[in-house]
């Protein structure tokens, strides 16, 4: 049985008006239902352009984008696409529309035609998830950078889309906020089979994805599991990226002769592997 992918890109190129060269060229990829895909790439590599193509904000200059089976080129499907594929923008100010936080979260639901009685619990639960309940009646322009970003995330969570495209959604959050938002998305992915496209410059976040796609100068240049992609330290650095801190430390230790295996991505991985080769000292408490 061949399952239709949630998102499919077939030879997709996009050139901005008057730009000398395409921002994205000949991109081909398929993302299955329930995948959590991290997208990495240098500044200006084409990640946000790609995200906007997935949401029918941009129509490919060449090639075809299908989202949940709908062709983004056909205007009659734009709405069908946007209700299924929710996008969290790089700058929350491009997303926030209302003058009160809870109305901003309601905006997407109104567009979906959700009855008012059902809206309230959804808004409350989305704001609680991002810990912004006490700001429900605040004006968005009176929020800090990270607070705005949380509201933008709540707006998308409330819509319960089947695909979430997050363009550097955690860039302005504090460490625990970043962890919470990523954990929320990972849980939605795992428990509700929501497909996630997670654009980020944090290698540690990408390490938690099922799959990592790397974009460079408008082309998809790597596509594999985090273990596979981050094994190529030199290649990643050549692409202006990096590997997770623990992967880099493991490599340094290996080069000094310590017999650590490949595939170490997190602090937990590192602790587990160190325990296999070094005994805790008896004297230590």
């Amino acid at each position: 049985m061949t399952e239709t992918p949630r998102i499919s890109l077939d030879g997709v190129s996009y050139t901005y008006e008057e730009a000398p060269s395409p921002a994205l060229s000949q991109a081909t990829a398929a993302i299955r239902e329930g995948e959590f895909v991290a997208v990495l790439g240098h500044n200006g590599s084409g990640k946000s352009t790609l995200a906007k193509l997935l949401n029918a904000l941009y129509i490919p200059t060449e090639g075809t984008v299908l989202v949940c089976g709908y062709n983004t080129k056909e205007e009659k499907y734009t709405w069908e696409i946007r209700r299924r594929a929710g996008m969290i923008f790089q700058n929350p100010d491009n997303q926030i529309v209302a003058t009160v936080v809870k109305e901003d979260v309601a905006f997407g639901l109104e567009n979906l035609g959700v009855p008012t009685v059902d809206m309230i619990p959804r808004i409350e639960s989305a704001l609680a998830t991002v810990r912004m309940s006490k700001f429900a009646d605040t004006a968005p322009h009176m929020l800090s950078g990270g607070q705005k970003q949380r509201v933008a995330i709540a707006g998308i969570l409330a819509m319960e889309p089947s695909v979430i495209i997050a363009d550097e959604a955690t860039a302005m959050l504090d460490p625990s906020g970043r962890q919470e938002v990523l954990d929320t998305l990972l849980a939605l992915n795992k428990n509700k089979n929501i497909t996630v496209v997670w654009i980020t410059h944090f290698m540690e976040e990408a390490a938690k994805a099922d799959r990592v796609i790397v974009v460079s100068d408008g082309s998809i240049v790597e596509d594999g599991t985090p273990g596979e992609v981050f094994e190529k330290t030199d290649r990643m650095r050549e692409l202006h990226l990096d590997v997770p801190h623990m992967t880099a430390l493991a490599e340094e230790l290996r080069s000094e002769g310590m017999p650590l295996p490949g595939g170490i991505l997190t602090v937990e991985d590192m602790v587990r592997e160190v325990e296999k080769i070094i005994c805790p000292s008896k004297s230590a408490t």
């Binding site: 790089q90 605040t138 004006a139 550097e168 504090d174 410059h201 310590m258 070094i278 805790p280 004297s283």
Partner: protein, 287 residues
């Protein structure tokens, strides 16, 4: 220059139903040539604080003294002061407004009354600092750039004025890892070689571990701790309880110590961990 903040309180929309205390009796001082890391949870007051340091926001009460002079005093030339204290905003879009990247970066130096030749030299210097290719980007519109490219332009615009104090609000957010490393090294150079005072706001504990000579930690509009990165990052519980974390190397150190490994409590740099792990491995032999 030295900066002294005395009992600074800031209340947004004072007197209205929406009034919010963003800074609550904050006092500290910064010496010439320090590299300060300002950290704190979302909404803790960092952006509000740094906007006071170059006079963009006015205190509800309290004072800011620059080299002993009240920043909001009547005699102070605040425009001149803003050239000496450069501020890069948290969202760079709000800082960009000219038609081209080169014009945008030239704006500050032009206001400083520099010659055309010097302005051009400053623009090239600043673009080089943030690794934006002059030939490729100088004539582009800043609004037709990617997020990370815009941030680089905003940083360049401030560097071009060669301020003696540089304040950056989340300068590495949205930068790719290489861009982040290069811009951090550039800041390190400005600090070491030109004795520039740097105040950097960041949520990246790993960046802070690398650069800051002192960390100031904020929570709920107050300063809750101040000290060297080593002092602050060894207080793992305090840091997590206020929504911050510690660098991965410090986390690894803590996790291994809990398992009984003989490691000092205050390691936070990957290089230190590497040396200690090699030592343990050589001493302990096989399990």
């Amino acid at each position: 220059m030295s900066i002294e903040v005395r009992h600074l309180t800031h209340t947004y929309s004072e007197g209205s139903a929406l009034s919010a205390v963003a800074l609550d009796d904050v006092s500290f001082s910064i010496q010439d040539g320090e590299f300060i890391g300002l950290i704190g949870h979302t909404g803790s007051g960092k952006s509000t604080l740094v906007q006071h340091l170059n006079g963009l926001l006015k205190p509800t009460s309290g004072q800011i003294l620059i080299d002993g002079e009240d920043l909001n005093g009547e005699k102070v030339d605040r425009r001149a002061l803003r050239r000496r204290i450069g501020l890069v905003f948290q969202y760079p879009e709000y800082q960009l407004f000219e038609e081209t990247v080169a014009k945008d970066i030239a704006f500050g130096p032009k206001n400083q009354g520099l010659s055309a030749g010097e302005i051009d030299a400053r623009v090239r210097y600043a673009m080089d600092c943030v690794h934006l290719d002059y030939e490729k980007y100088a004539e582009k519109s800043p609004f037709e750039l990617s997020g990370g490219q815009m941030r680089r332009v905003a940083i360049a615009g401030v560097l071009a004025m060669k301020p003696s104090t540089l304040i950056l609000d989340e300068p590495t957010a949205g930068l790719d890892p290489r861009g982040r490393d290069r811009i951090l090294s550039m800041l390190e150079d400005l600090h070491r070689k030109e004795n520039t005072t740097v105040i950097m706001v960041s949520h990246s504990m790993d960046d802070m571990a690398r650069l800051a000579t002192r960390l100031i930690v904020m929570a709920n509009g107050k300063i809750v701790a101040s000290g060297t990165p080593r002092e602050i990052f060894s207080q793992r519980e305090m840091m997590t309880s206020i929504g911050l974390g510690i660098p991965d190397a410090a986390r690894l150190c803590g996790a291994l110590r809990e398992k009984g490994y003989d490691l000092p409590a205050d390691l936070y740099r990957p290089e230190e961990l590497k040396q200690h792990l090699l030592r343990l491995w050589k001493e302990a032999g096989k399990c």
